[in-house]
């Protein structure tokens, strides 16, 4: 469905040219749920810009449904439904008018767009708000309406660019429930960008993108397994010394050792023929609490990028 080869986008800035996307290649299969996981400014939105022909690639090429995006921008756009990071509804029109506007722009006949819009509004739980002005909607409802709108022209590829950004946890869960419901009813390829690990976890494949490059790409399961079986989590008082000791003794831990929010240290268990228990006994430190768990996507992300995905509330743009 999507086929990108050595895609590059260079912006000229005052500090000289900067590659927002630096030679990425990926393929998304028909019906696949594919995620781009990366921090803000990693090149996610730039990639989407090139997918929908808003930005021209500096080098490389990208095809959607076997159509070159640069040569057939309108044909490609007709096949894509996109939910933008930031709201993009006309809030002075009613929900229905927004959908009508979209349907007309995509050349959908009156009868068909009416049928689809009614159906999708019902699936997304908005049927009773049809004729209300969009400015009376909550953030979560606006998002759901945008998803309905993105589907009115029956796209073959749905692009979700940080679809739950700026929503409270309850609305986030709610929006995802609706996305899954609609995916069950309408099969289509989904391309998601996010910096929330748990959102990427539900996808068929994940590409981890950092500083314009794909650093890892596989199913979430295999990415986690590639790290080895276990992550150790230790609570100690002499955190600094333990850190130093571990890094000297096991240099490979540089890529996974980190401090958790609760002040504990966690790292990929180095193994070397020992069990975690033997490993702990051999440590010359007093350990208050220790636990072993399976690696999660957070560990994967840190392993491949060297940084966490913690986002601050005010960095909602870019990506």
């Amino acid at each position: 469905m999507v086929d990108a080869e050595n895609l590059v986008k260079v912006y000229s800035t005052r500090a000289g040219p900067r590659a927002a996307v630096d030679g990425i290649s990926f393929k998304v299969g028909e019906g696949e749920f594919f995620s781009f996981l990366g921090p803000n400014g990693a090149g996610k939105s730039t990639t989407i810009g090139m997918m929908v022909a808003l930005l021209a690639p500096t080098a490389g090429r990208i095809k959607i449904d076997n159509l070159d995006v640069v040569r057939f921008p309108h044909e490609v756009r007709q096949r894509i439904g996109i939910i933008f990071q930031d709201p993009s509804l006309d809030d002075r029109l009613t929900a229905w008018e927004n959908l009508e506007f979209h349907g007309r722009l995509y050349g959908i006949s009156k009868e068909v767009r009416k049928k689809r819009a009614n159906f999708l509004m019902e699936v997304m739980g908005l049927a009773d708000r049809r004729d209300d002005l969009v400015r009376t909607f909550s953030g979560g409802m606006k998002r759901r309406l945008e998803i309905v709108r993105g589907l009115v022209h029956a796209p073959r590829l749905l692009i979700l660019d940080e679809p739950t950004l700026g929503l409270d946890p309850h609305s986030r869960r709610n929006v995802w429930e609706y996305i899954h419901t609609v995916r069950k009813k309408v099969q289509m390829t989904v391309f998601l960008t996010t910096h929330y690990l748990e959102e990427a976890d539900g996808s068929d494949r994940v590409a981890i993108i950092n500083q314009g490059q794909i650093v890892a790409m596989d199913t979430p399961d295999r990415l986690k397994k590639s790290l080895g079986p276990e992550v150790l989590n230790l609570h100690v008082s002499e955190k600094g010394q333990l850190k130093k000791f571990l890094l000297e003794r096991y240099p490979s831990l540089t890529s996974s050792l980190r401090e958790e929010e609760d002040g504990s240290l966690s790292f990929l268990f180095p193994g070397e023929g020992k069990s975690p228990w033997e490993f702990l006994k051999a440590l010359p430190f007093a350990i208050r609490e220790a636990s072993v768990r399976r690696p999660n996507l957070d560990d994967v992300f840190i392993r491949y990028t060297g940084t966490g995905l913690k986002s601050t509330p005010n960095d909602s743009r870019g990506g």
Binding site: G31, H74, D86, L93, E97, V112
Partner: protein, 279 residues
């Protein structure tokens, strides 16, 4: 909820390939859609539409009413009756009302960018030219409605143009509306703040208005003023409006039409060009 398959509801199967209508058909439908949106929004705001005729009324009745006893005849109508200042002013104020509304219609494109709606339009399968043309038509419609609200007051000013002359006046309003919306759009293309746009626009429309001859006759002007008014697109519009409604004019009909035509062509192609090039 009733379970129905998506096929029944008209969702198209994922691997069905739909041929696109030809480019022109799609673009024309896009132009219509964008125009329709502006008209819906205009209708929803109709209270404001009425409210915004207050300013032109102040000009007509207070400025015009106050000055007319002091000023002599402003020219002679073809019926031989001398033309008072209020009658002279009337076509100028019709033009002003179109000018102001159309110029600020360009702010809509800045608003759309601010609220993110512009992106929805830009990723749709239609050309940028169609987007600009749709916006220009929407803004022009708005401003012509404003102008018409003033124009219908014509019986109060003892002016009785024939139907064909009224049609000419209407055509002039359409041309001013199209030209000025284009100006608004070409200024708005790169603007990201609507406040900045408003400030810039105020800076532009007042000279356009004052130089156009809406308030005073263009003959016997100081040289520099007369030169400046010739490069004002509004001059030709106001002159033709006055010609049509009162019979008094400074340029010939053809000069007026040519002047308006040149500015319209220039401004609309420039706004299309800039919008197509913008990111």
């Amino acid at each position: 909820m009733q379970e129905k398959t998506f096929e029944e509801w008209g969702m198209i199967l994922p691997n069905e390939k739909r041929p696109l209508a030809d480019r022109l058909t799609r673009d024309l439908q896009g132009v219509y859609t964008l125009w329709l949106r502006d008209v819906i929004r205009l209708w929803r705001d109709r209270i404001r539409l009425i409210g915004s005729i207050v300013q032109p009324l102040l000009f007509l009745f207070i400025l015009g009413g106050g000055l007319s006893p002091r000023l002599g005849a402003m020219g002679v109508t073809h019926s031989g009756r001398p033309l008072g200042y209020q009658e002279f002013l009337f076509p100028g104020i019709v033009g002003m009302s179109v000018l102001f509304t159309a110029s600020f219609a360009g702010v809509a494109i800045v608003w759309d960018r601010e609220v993110g709606f512009l992106k929805e339009v830009l990723v749709a399968p239609l050309s940028r030219t169609a987007v600009v043309v749709g916006k220009i038509l929407g803004g022009a419609t708005n401003s012509v409605i404003q102008g018409t609200l003033i124009l219908v007051l014509i019986p109060f000013f003892h002016l009785h143009p024939s139907l064909s002359r009224t049609m000419v006046a209407f055509l002039v309003m359409v041309m001013i509306g199209l030209t000025q919306t284009s100006v608004g759009i070409l200024l708005g293309v790169r603007m990201t703040s609507s406040q900045g746009f408003m400030v810039l626009m105020n800076f532009i429309i007042l000279p356009l208005f004052f130089l156009s001859g809406a308030l005073f006759p263009l003959d016997r002007l100081p040289h520099w003023l007369s030169e400046a008014s010739r490069v004002d697109p509004m001059t030709y519009g106001v002159d033709l409006l006055r010609h049509a409604l009162t019979g008094v004019h400074f340029f010939s009909v053809w000069t007026d039409l040519l002047g308006m035509g040149i500015f319209l062509g220039l401004m609309s192609s420039l706004s299309i060009y800039l919008f197509t090039k913008a990111d």
